[in-house]
């Protein structure tokens, strides 16, 4: 089949004003870390250093918690709820106004295609603030009693896969419910969180209501174990999530919500429209380079259509364009870090060693930066590590099933329970499957859909608590 080549269509990076160095955002101002610690953040697509960022020590974290406590007691918890809401509306509007800048910044720092940061991440960020702004003065309608109270100071740690979106999922509900926050962005993607700090300044948000402490695991540990916080919210790996749960177990005054890993099954029945299902499979696992906790990393295909679905999938994957994240035609961007790339490579090699067949479309990888081609494993059994462990990369494991009951059995055969996908033309089967899948989100004839009104979160070892919707408010209310 002839293929029309695309001319490069890069988004201008001039719109993203990156400073040489960034301080911590504490009590409304950027301040250096007390011990002068700093680290560099790079573009994973080119390994170019983008900026130097302060590394928060435990003493810095303590300053931030104190600032958040003071702001909570003196300002935020005594402010009229509708005024609280109006601050959030302002923030939502500024995010909309600066959306292209934020999208470019996100793609530079994270490696994700500009098409996704521009059309998915940033619009959802604005929507999330807009939605929660409205809740601020309507909490008595949310189903938690006539006058639900905030918790106090929230310590929040977020991952690198959707840096600004995860920030929005954490900060918007926390503030709407009347809490103040100290948030630590991931060490490989701090820049949009720091841009958000500037947005808080533009919005005249009272100092201390939002504090951003940058750093790596140690900073995160200092934050979530700090005795002065009332709430811990973490999104990241199940391993770290369990560590936090153990720590919070001995500090019962802290409310904890966790959004952790996943190994979602994407289940395709023989009556599913194949082209639509293939688009959903591709979106399910190759969206954001597979750096998605709810990614559809296990494809379960009904045996009768296995050959057809696989052929169609491989044909579609051959058309994916991998490369410069800032190119508007790019479908697959860079892997976020060298460490993540090493993990994806390791698990993929284990997949081969355990006997699964590895396939990737012809795909030229850039020389510089961290890259991994879209990869499909067939002949995968449930015992294979690539079918059990979260790879967090563009790697799909394909399994088959014969009956709906077998599909349910296989889909649920995982310690995780974040999401699942079902593809069939039969509505009753969708609902039958949905009621049996042990997962917090079930997508039917679609995948990876997110909306601020829709609660998101996991069963089992994918964590507890929900983010988004009326249900998500519970995580930040004393109920």
């Amino acid at each position: 089949m002839p293929r029309f080549d695309y001319a490069p269509a890069p988004e201008s990076r001039a719109i993203a004003h990156i400073k040489e160095s960034y301080g911590l955002f504490i009590n409304g101002e950027f301040t250096p870390s007390q011990d002068g610690g700093a680290f560099k953040t790079i573009s994973p697509a080119s390994e170019e250093v983008l900026a130097e960022v302060a590394e928060a020590s435990p003493a810095d974290v303590d300053r931030a918690v104190v600032a958040a406590r003071t702001a909570y007691e003196r300002t935020w918890s005594v402010l009229a709820p509708k005024e609280r809401g109006k601050y959030l509306f302002r923030i939502a509007r500024i995010i909309q106004e600066r959306s292209r800048e934020l999208a470019v910044l996100e793609s530079l720092d994270n490696g994700k295609p500009i098409r996704e940061s521009r059309d998915v991440d940033i619009p959802l960020v604005a929507a999330h603030f807009f939605y929660h702004a409205g809740w601020a003065d309507k909490l008595e309608y949310a189903g938690y009693g006539p006058a639900p109270r905030p918790l106090g100071v929230a310590g929040q740690v977020i991952p690198w896969n959707f840096p600004l979106l995860m920030l929005a999922w954490k900060i918007a509900p926390a503030l709407a419910c009347g809490n103040t926050v100290v948030l630590k962005p991931a060490e490989t993607t701090p820049l949009t969180a720091l841009a958000f700090a500037e947005i808080c300044q533009q919005a005249d948000l009272p100092p201390g209501v939002v504090n951003i402490v940058t750093g790596a695991g140690e900073t995160g540990r200092a934050l979530v174990t700090h005795p002065g916080i009332d709430k811990v919210a973490f999104t990241g790996s199940t391993e770290v999530g369990k560590e936090i749960a153990r720590d919070c177990a001995t500090q019962p005054h802290k409310k904890l919500t966790l959004e952790l890993g996943g190994k979602a099954a994407n289940i395709v029945f023989e009556d599913a429209p194949v082209d639509q299902a293939v688009e959903g499979i591709v979106n399910g696992i190759f969206f954001n380079q597979g750096h998605v906790c709810c990614a559809g990393s296990r494809l379960l295909v009904q045996e009768s259509v296995y050959e057809q679905v696989l052929a169609s999938l491989q044909r579609r994957l051959a058309t994916l364009r991998l490369g410069d994240p800032l190119d508007k035609n790019t479908d697959v961007g860079a892997i976020n870090s060298a460490a993540q790339l090493a993990k994806i490579r390791e698990l993929s090699e284990i997949g081969e060693a355990e006997g699964a067949q590895r396939w990737s479309p012809p795909c030229e990888l850039p020389v510089k930066g961290f890259w991994f081609p879209p990869t499909v494993f067939t002949g995968v059994s449930q015992a294979h590590r690539i079918a059990r462990e979260e790879i967090f990369g563009p790697v799909l494991s394909v399994l088959t099933f014969r009956t709906p009951a077998e599909a349910v059995e296989k889909a649920n055969n995982t310690p995780y329970g974040l999401s699942a996908g079902v593809w069939t033309d039969k509505g009753s089967r969708i609902l039958w499957m949905a009621s049996r899948l042990r997962a917090g989100v079930v997508w039917a004839n679609t995948f990876n859909k997110f909306d601020p009104t829709s609660p998101f979160g996991g069963y089992k070892e994918s964590g507890y608590g929900r983010e988004g919707g009326r249900h998500g408010l519970e995580a930040y209310l004393d109920v």
């Binding site: 809401g85 189903g143 009753s428 609902l431 039958w432 009104t453």
Partner: protein, 292 residues
């Protein structure tokens, strides 16, 4: 003082206060107008005096706008309402002056009213994507069915706006109807219609699609009965209908079982609650079997 009449060095350009129908500003098709005075009886303007035909045109415009507006996402409707608040904030001075002349309020009182008006749009903007979460339900029916209920807008809502509160009252009865996707024909306060007309000029330059909110000015007793008896109107708010007229309008509304909101003593400065939002919602329940 000079005893000879003098003209000011610069003569103010007065505004023509017209109707607002389908996103346009027509005069009344009847060619009529009536004198609107300030609280001291001083001349303010000749407002359009809407006729039966104007009322019917407004209903047609509202019905035409209903499809698109009710199909817009709740998020979009929320943003559109919020945009009205944004634009009003920039016109505070104008509306404070209009409310002062219309209602005879002091400067501080009028300022408080206009601030409440702006915040009321924000309050309702926030409801757009939440009402279904508060009012909808998944129903645990005793059988293999998925069963859920969601609110849907009633359709075209005719509103007889409060007579006493020309702007805050007007916004307080219109916003809760449109936020959920209804289209409105609002009859402004008969004695003090001008702030509502000026509001329609803000609506026209905001993102509210033409026809979603239509504003009529004129004689309540003349126009309201045509709205109350109109067979393509689905709901009727009688808040601003005089006591003697309200019963008659309610009886006319029964002809096609309009949802009728009866006048009640309202303090527009109080938190509005959900009563008015719920008044213009239908509940739709969907059953779907569950099985292999």
């Amino acid at each position: 003082m000079s005893d000879t009449a003098t003209a000011p060095a610069r003569l103010a350009v007065r505004k023509t206060y017209k109707l607002y129908i389908g996103g346009a500003f027509p005069r009344s098709e009847s060619g009529r107008s009536y004198v609107v005075t300030d609280h001291k009886g001083g001349f303010l303007a000749n407002a359009a005096m809407a006729s039966r035909k104007d009322a019917r045109d407004a209903v047609v415009a509202a019905r035409k706008a209903f499809g698109g507006w009710s199909a817009a996402t709740a998020y979009n409707r929320g943003q559109v309402l919020y945009r009205v608040a944004e634009l009003l904030e920039g016109r505070r001075a104008q509306f404070i002056a209009e409310v002062r002349s219309a209602e005879g309020l002091g400067a501080r009182q009028a300022e408080a009213v206009v601030e409440e008006v702006i915040d009321r749009w924000v309050w309702y903007a926030g409801w757009a994507d939440k009402i279904a979460q508060v009012r909808g339900a998944a129903n645990p029916v005793a059988g293999p069915f998925f069963n859920f209920s969601t609110p849907e807008p009633t359709g075209v809502v005719a509103v007889v706006a409060p007579q006493d509160s020309s702007l805050l009252g007007f916004v307080s009865v219109v916003a809760p109807a449109v936020v959920t996707g209804n289209a409105v024909v609002a009859l402004a306060s008969e004695r003090a219609p001008l702030p509502a007309v000026s509001l329609s000029e803000v609506l026209a330059t905001s993102d509210v699609p033409g026809g979603v909110i239509n504003v009529l000015t004129g004689r309540t007793a003349e126009v309201a009965p045509w709205l109350a008896s109109h067979m393509d109107v689905n709901a009727l708010d009688l808040t601003g209908a005089p006591a003697g007229l309200a019963d008659e309008l309610a009886v006319a509304a029964a002809e096609n079982l309009k949802r009728v909101l009866r006048p009640a003593d309202e303090d527009w400065t109080q938190p509005p609650g959900l009563k008015r939002v719920l008044a213009y919602l239908e509940t739709k329940t969907v059953w779907h079997p569950s099985g292999i």
